[in-house]
């Protein structure tokens, strides 16, 4: 009887301790997130509607930052996504474990392990001295370096989820490799790949570390004739570093990043639910 009571007590205590610890953790994190949202939204209201609040960031500079982020992410994706796809295809097609496949896997793991700040530092060292002319290219290269292993691994895992008999059936019908890739594999894995790619883009949209060394030295950060000079996270850091560390525009920038991430996350969830 005593043993039973002791056991029940242990069960009860353990379960409730687990619930309390987990809920406290989640609640604390959600409170932090809610506080960040509150600060962002109130700063946005101050920035847009209250004249007495001054900011070193004009609305045009903010748009500049949004366009800059958009172009950097777009061009980096255009470069690294096809490369990542063909690297994943190589690994997928070479089913037996060969030296080349092991080497590729090792290189991708190593590139994925590179801290973001080291990626940016490497790009700075690569262009050292010439960064004024190549700052946009340098930023795109740094972000592509970060994106490539992520895209490649996620595309490979999406391709591996496709049932093997689908591919075998296509081979049995006499389809060529080209047709199998573009008429069987890609359509079958398209939704999964799209979700993964969008998640990676959302994750990297707030990344400042790879672009860090382009700041200050890369004063000519022009990508288009629109004179795009910035990326949003970099702009936030520039404002902070210029001495205006409590400028409301910093929170406005973070709100834009959070909204972008939230929208993409919602979109990927909708894609998943529709499957």
């Amino acid at each position: 009887m005593r043993v039973k009571t002791h056991r029940k007590f242990k069960e009860y205590f353990f379960k409730n301790a687990l619930i309390v610890i987990s809920l406290l953790t989640i609640f604390s994190l959600l409170c932090i997130f809610a506080h960040i949202l509150y600060l962002s939204v109130s700063s946005m209201i101050e920035y847009l509607f209250i004249d007495s609040v001054s900011s070193v960031v004009s609305f045009g500079l903010l748009i500049n930052g949004i366009l800059g982020s958009f172009f950097i992410i777009l061009i980096s994706t255009i470069i690294s996504l096809p490369l990542g796809f063909f690297i994943a295809l190589f690994q997928y097609e070479h089913e037996e474990v060969s030296f080349a496949k092991k080497m590729v896997s090792y290189i991708l793991d190593s590139l994925q392990a590179v801290p973001f700040i080291v990626a940016g530092f490497f790009v700075y060292l690569l262009f050292q001295g010439k960064i004024y002319d190549f700052s946009a290219i340098a930023a795109i290269l740094a972000l592509s370096m970060v994106m490539l292993p992520l895209f490649s691994k996620s595309i490979l895992s999406s391709l591996e989820k496709i049932p093997e008999n689908l591919k075998q059936a296509a081979y049995a019908l006499g389809a060529s490799s080209y047709k199998i890739v573009f008429r069987v594999l890609l359509p079958a894995a398209f939704k999964d790949i799209s979700r993964e790619v969008l998640s990676i883009i959302a994750m990297l949209s707030g990344l400042a570390a790879p672009l860090f060394f382009i700041y200050e030295v890369g004063k000519r950060f022009e990508i288009t004739e629109l004179g795009v000079h910035n990326a949003l996270p970099l702009l936030a850091f520039k404002i902070f570093h210029s001495g205006e560390s409590s400028d409301p525009a910093i929170w406005v920038i973070f709100l834009i990043i959070i909204l972008f991430i939230f929208l993409i996350s919602l979109f990927t969830k909708t894609l998943r639910n529709n499957e």
Partner: protein
Amino acid sequence: MLANRIIKILSYVSIALLMAFFCLFGIIILYYSIPAIIHSGYHFFTDISWIPSENTFGALSFISTTSLSSIIAILIAMPLSLSIAILLEEYYKQGRFNKFIKYSIDILALVPSIIYGYWAWYFLIPLLEPDGLFFGDGFSNIMFISLVLAIMIIPYSASFSFRIISRVSDNIKDAAFSLGASKYRMIMNVLVPNSAKGLWAAMLLAMARCIGETMALIFILGSGSMLFGETNTMTTIITQDFFHLKSHLHLSALAEIGLLLFVITTMINIAGKYIMQKVW
């Protein structure tokens, strides 16, 4: 067929570009690190004096701050992440509560670290340090850095831990129940030991992320705030000193720190992935 050949060529070209880029990365980082490696030798790892104006580059304080803060952050984050994972897998496997927690964790994991770092500078420091009494000595600096890193890493390690916990076969759990084990016993004696390898791997991967983290700490450490004195991690010293380079040797020393960061995070990632392959 021409199209098949094109696909093959594109694959090989992509692989070649990847390998060339990786070699270029290694060569550039090594090339710029070599002057500092020759100049400082093993003193780089054993000296604590970092005085660029005197060409003295001892990175021990940064290495120890980085290691300690990462380890403490993991020690804070892992039990909390594991408890969330166990709760969702064993007690609330389905339902709205499960969906809500998972979605919250996914969103929190996507929040960029720069936002957490700025929030810590904007809100947490004034909250904990209104009179300039809390910070200043090494211990409290490292505890604060660890706290910020832990806040950042909990959602990431929670979603990872959940994937690992959910991989444990239901048969093993049912076998434990059929032998009369309570839920508590099943979790402590079956679930956790069976997923221990995966949890170690999760810990290593989270640690690699902590070690490479920059933007979460740059507002706290890199702002020139006197609160934290000379405390710096390997990543923040690169960003801080970059704007005040004294000599080419100084740049080379920063490149050496970058190389060290790359080596450490690669080793940790490879160890983590090796363990994951054994598990999965």
